[in-house]
């Protein structure tokens, strides 16, 4: 019970048709964290989340949520977990309020909580309308309201911005950021876009083809980025040969001198050498690889994830 982990999986595996869709995943999420669960579509994010919630059975491995075994204490655990899986679930013929009421009756919480969550996701005005007339963004917000209904300690949001336009994505992101962090809610949010969780996650897990290939802080992920120095000079080719002559590693990339990350002293020395030999230095810039780039390099997928 005194486990520090809100979510802890050990060698979690799901086989489908003889192939591992989720392959020996060890996921660790601490209390109070906002954990970004990243990976391209089809990498196994949703399957992992479905297993966390007891919606699907693992082929092997263990899952503990809130320090308890999901197989043995599923109901106890789920009382404290709010979730939104893949796309929003709703009963189209019911109003937003009635949708929440149908769930509230199962959670045994006061009715006033419905108005609270409606206010949080700003659906109070539309609460009486049938949900089938809602926009996708409103359905997503209703889904988040449903997840928040039971005042969960752990919130699991699977692709909460999927299929939304940029304005909708921004709206959901602001909403998630505004969630009461003071109450110590732990949030697992999955996405196929790094940029989406970049600004809110404290830690990330990256899954690719069922394997967890990275799990650490965002800061550590950035460090993995190969940063470098770019220099614009008057005659790059000659400058490069000159620097090689002085024992520096340099290359020319699209008319720019490119170096690996170097200490300041070395850069100073290079600049001095170049100036001595009459090269004009227009600008020196540090080029940090974007998180998107790192993410792409790691998952080995190009273009749209």
């Amino acid at each position: 019970m005194n486990s520090p982990w809100m979510i802890e999986t050990k060698q979690l595996t799901k086989m489908l048709g003889g192939k591992p869709v989720v392959d020996r995943v060890d996921m660790l999420i601490q209390k109070g964290e906002i954990y970004g669960f990243l990976g391209p579509n089809g990498a196994g994010k949703t399957t992992t989340i479905r297993m966390l919630l007891g919606l699907a059975r693992p082929s092997s491995g263990h899952i503990r949520l809130l320090g308890k075994d999901i197989r043995r204490e599923r109901l106890d655990i789920l009382r404290k977990v709010g979730s939104l899986v893949e796309y929003p679930s709703y009963y189209g013929h019911l109003s937003g309020y009635e949708n929440l009421e149908a769930v509230r009756r199962l959670l045994d919480i006061p009715k006033s909580r419905i108005d609270e969550v409606l206010a949080i996701v700003r659906l109070t005005k539309d609460a009486k309308r049938p949900v089938k007339g809602y926009s996708l963004g409103m359905k997503q917000r209703l889904g988040i309201a449903t997840a928040l209904l039971g005042s969960p300690e752990l919130l699991i949001l699977d692709e909460p911005t999927n299929g939304l336009d940029p304005a909708g994505i921004l709206e959901i992101r602001e909403l998630i950021k505004s969630l009461p962090r003071s109450q110590g809610v732990t949030i697992l949010i999955s996405s196929h876009l790094l940029s989406e969780v970049d600004q809110m996650a404290t830690r990330v897990g990256i899954i690719s083809s069922g394997r967890m290939i990275f799990q650490d802080s965002i800061a550590r992920l950035r460090k993995q980025a190969k940063s470098g120095i770019r220099m614009r000079v008057s005659e790059p080719e000659q400058a490069m040969r000159l620097l090689h002559g002085h024992g520096f590693q340099a290359a020319v990339e699209s008319e720019l001198l490119a170096f690996d990350d170097l200490p300041d002293a070395q850069i100073g020395a290079m600049v001095a050498r170049l100036s001595e030999h009459g090269h004009l230095i227009y600008r020196i810039e540090e080029s940090a690889a974007s998180l998107e780039r790192i993410f792409l390099d790691m998952t080995g997928t190009e273009g749209s994830l």
């Binding site: 479905r50 919630l53 789920l78 709703y90 189209g92 009421e101 769930v103 199962l106």
Partner: protein, 241 residues
């Protein structure tokens, strides 16, 4: 389980299912008024036999199929299952509540049918006394005979991710009811015909499967209900959603 039922009520309250509940009784009323006469030897029994044929042969099994598909429809439609089953509810209580809703709807249908029958008798000026024993055992028997079918159709409705497939299957299997009722050998074991066997008074139909005694029929119904429920419940408990 009570919370589960109250949640189900929330979902079914605004459903079009309520339009289907009174159909058969509403049709039975004019059919009874036109097709019976107070001068018959035993007008109450005549009316029951007449009205129960259409109601129990066709409507009861079809409505069972539709109700079963209905209580699953709004869960299939927009990811209801995964939201529901990720809540602190046991799958057993979810499954039991769905079955209970089907059975409650069927009970309502039977109640309205009884009401229609009573109105036929009263409006038609049938001589008292009202044979309560025969009427109630028919209506209640018909309801009990729907149990195995309800369990079977609920299984089918959770199995298929659609509304149409289990209903279509139900229709296909309901159609040969008249033929199957003629078979003393297979009739009693055919879930779609059991409501008819249970509802129509024995003395009016003494052929084919109607020759079966109430006790035997009840035993068959009990065993097949238990079997269908067990299969469906086991499947649902392990189903990945």
């Amino acid at each position: 389980m009570l919370a589960m039922m109250r949640s189900e009520w929330m979902k079914i309250r605004r459903s079009i299912v309520w339009l289907l509940v009174p159909i058969s009784p509403l049709l039975a009323l004019p059919a009874g008024l036109l097709g019976t006469s107070a001068t018959d030897g035993a007008p109450w029994q005549e009316a029951l036999a007449l009205l129960a044929v259409l109601h129990a042969m066709l409507f009861l099994p079809l409505l069972t199929c539709v109700f079963a598909a209905m209580v699953c429809r709004y869960e299939h439609l927009n990811g209801g299952w995964k939201q529901l089953l990720a809540l602190p509810v046991s799958r057993t209580s979810v499954y039991a509540a769905k079955l209970a809703v089907i059975l409650l709807l069927l009970a309502l249908v039977q109640l309205l049918f009884l009401l229609a029958l009573l109105m036929v008798g009263i409006l038609g000026g049938f001589a008292p006394p009202i044979p309560w024993g025969a009427l109630l055992s028919s209506v209640l028997g018909g309801w009990i005979a729907c149990l195995p079918l309800a369990a079977l159709q609920l299984f089918a409705s959770t199995l298929f991710q659609s509304f149409a497939a289990p209903v279509a299957a139900g229709v296909v299997f309901t159609m040969p009811n008249m033929l199957i009722a003629n078979s003393a050998q297979y009739g009693p074991y055919y879930p779609w015909v059991q409501p008819m066997l249970a509802m129509i008074p024995r003395e009016h139909m003494a052929f084919g499967a109607f020759g079966i005694t109430s006790g035997t029929l009840l035993a068959v119904i009990g065993v097949s209900f238990a079997a269908f429920f067990l299969v469906g419940w086991t499947y649902f408990s392990r189903k990945a959603v």
